[in-house]
Symmetry: C2
């Protein structure tokens, strides 16, 4: 029995994007089976050179560019721009995260591209406008700061950041959703759409139900919500773990297990436990300190208390507890070593498509041949340093 | 000119899900224009009663259930189950986040549903299995702990959590992607697919390029990466702001602006600035303390230093700086007041569909009539307390 085709088989995506949000969105489409062509300059995406391990290849680049084909072309030249036009004329999707709808450096504007190919779905990510007309250089931390995450993550009035490029990554996920929805709509309308994601808006919409539930109802006084103790932490003999007695039966069982049955009635509600969570953690700590973490977890689960180990990143990959949970595959890259790859979901029990990240320009000749360029034309473009 | 149909117009989604991940995934599909029917028990989704403001309505519920229709039915009864079967027979998508593929309480299993309706796309979210066979009760904090986020977010060896239900919300976004991709694939294959999202895997894949770039290359010694100072923080006269001089020209301009030009050559590289970011922050603080935040931001932007205010959640909604950035709409809910709503993206310049969250059972009779139930049959089901 052959595996069914991946869900986006036959969909052609052109990525002309930098940094994180655009490339990640295009990578997700590649994982779903689309043919994603990353158009890079002759020097390649800048992330190729962040702590690179082989010429033009780095973990940073690989982690945002799995499964793509790389075409290296100087878009500032006429013949280079002609290549991009031909790519876009036969594409289903363009992914870009420029500062504006008109890319001066590429002499490319989205309206023209859409007029040439009305079936084209254009997916755009934009940064913060900062009250002015045009978006300015936007880092993930700025979005975290502007839309409330840094304040929420802080403590005692001092802001802090979530230690993830969460705004870039959320914008990418929103973009993928919008592009897929637009492709579905095109199946009946025959026309592409422009999908626009603002990093600020996408981040706010993602966080809304958590951080903004206190301001959802306009008439409510926006009282500062009590800092949510999401889970309780304990240090077992050999490492941290987290336990979360939410329901009353879980709480009663926990108090009995750790030898503090009186706490069950002392803190009868979830709110009372949240309020005094530090007192409770301290009182329960000695039980945890006497046990190895796997044993503590086994005893907690046996009486029905939800819990989990706090794994450091390397431990995540080896924790036997997660063996059935986490699927990481390996691939050898010339000159770099063996790299771990991961995807987010499975279809009918099979992981999504896994293909390597490309060296710079690896597919330039192949893609130009598909566009109808002859071997002589391709050689001439190389000689003129239009492509690489 | 009439607005074009929303991208998922005509797609029918049945949600039989609890808590957060399933309902949020279905809400995103509703926003994109799908007809989402939320099948609830006779007492309704439990989030209806978390700090409710009107009977069965809360900000919590509204924020995860915009744009759906609510059908209240007792699925433990034969006639109730028959209603669900008829809903699934004519549906395009089922969204569920049960503990297992077979839902004992509903006497429903996914294989049977898919056999009855081979075009059905089934989207499932699962929690942590914890090394055993079956998933157990999984809270967001457990996923953050198990897959490395809590360790990364911590400081000085003490774990901390990201103050968002990030794992639930990421699982929802991955599920939406998978379901949309499966709907696209169905357009050519005619057959639905099973899309499975594990909260642990989806969270790990999302965080991979940030938290796990240090362990991407197998042969590398997983040295603890230096704690990433994502942005620098300063306290202006009237509030916090964040500034991020990444490029050398931005750094030089900043040093000149704050009257510390010698720092430009003292810390010539990004790494050196990251290493001593606390020293630098302290040295620059007095410049910020003498200015109001809007003035500091204006001066920073004028010399090209990227920056942003650190807004507390209520400030996000009123900051003039974000006026062109953030689109929040208002809706009156009977007995609750005026509620703010937000969506993540726009299509051809228009925000996605906005429709209210439903009172419990508001659409029971309407949906049953669509399924072919007569008014007499519907009245009898009410009398027998099968529906509400």
């Amino acid at each position: 029995m052959t595996a069914p085709a991946p869900p986006l088989a036959g969909i052609r995506v052109i990525e002309v994007a930098a940094a994180l949000s655009g490339p990640i969105a295009a990578m997700r489409l590649a994982e779903l089976g689309a043919d994603v062509i990353k158009v890079e300059g002759l020097d390649g995406d800048m992330t190729r050179n962040i702590r690179s391990r082989a010429p033009g290849m780095s973990a940073n680049y690989v982690n945002a560019n799995l499964g793509k084909r790389s075409v290296a072309v100087d878009l500032a030249t006429g013949p280079g721009r002609a290549i991009l036009d031909r790519l876009l004329d036969r594409a289903d999707v363009l992914i870009e995260n420029w500062r504006d709808d008109r890319n001066g450096k590429l002499n490319l504007d989205l309206d023209t591209a859409r007029q040439r190919n009305p079936r084209l779905v254009v997916g755009s990510v934009r940064g913060l406008h900062r009250g002015g007309g045009k978006p300015t250089r936007t880092y993930d931390s700025h979005v975290q700061a502007a839309v409330g995450l840094a304040a929420e993550q802080g403590q005692d009035g001092q802001p802090d950041f979530m230690r993830l490029n969460i705004a870039d990554r959320i914008a990418a996920m929103a973009l993928v959703q919008g592009v897929l929805a637009a492709l579905l709509a095109r199946a009946s309308s025959g026309r592409g759409r422009r999908v626009s994601v603002s990093m600020g808006q996408a981040m706010l919409a993602f966080a809304w139900g958590d951080i903004f539930s206190q301001v959802t109802i306009v008439e409510d006084e926006p009282a500062p919500a009590p800092r949510n103790r999401i889970g309780m932490l304990a240090h077992a003999a050999d490492g941290w773990l987290c336990y979360t007695p939410v329901r009353n039966d879980e709480w009663t069982a926990l108090c009995g297990l750790v030898g503090m049955p009186a706490y069950a009635s002392k803190y009868p509600t979830r709110d009372s436990r949240q309020r005094d969570s530090q007192v409770i953690s301290a009182a329960f700590q000695s039980w945890f300190a006497e046990r190895r973490r796997p044993d503590a977890i086994r005893e907690l689960l046996a009486v029905g208390v939800p819990c989990a180990p706090v794994n450091r990143p390397p431990e995540v990959l080896t924790d036997p507890w997660l063996r059935d949970e986490i699927s990481v595959s390996l691939r050898d890259y010339t000159g770099m070593g063996t790299l771990r790859e991961i995807g987010p979901m499975s279809f009918d029990g099979s992981a999504a498509t896994r293909r390597p990240a490309p060296p710079l320009g690896k597919h330039t000749d192949e893609v130009l041949a598909e566009l109808g360029y002859s071997p002589q034309q391709i050689a001439a473009l190389h000689a003129d340093r239009v492509i690489r």
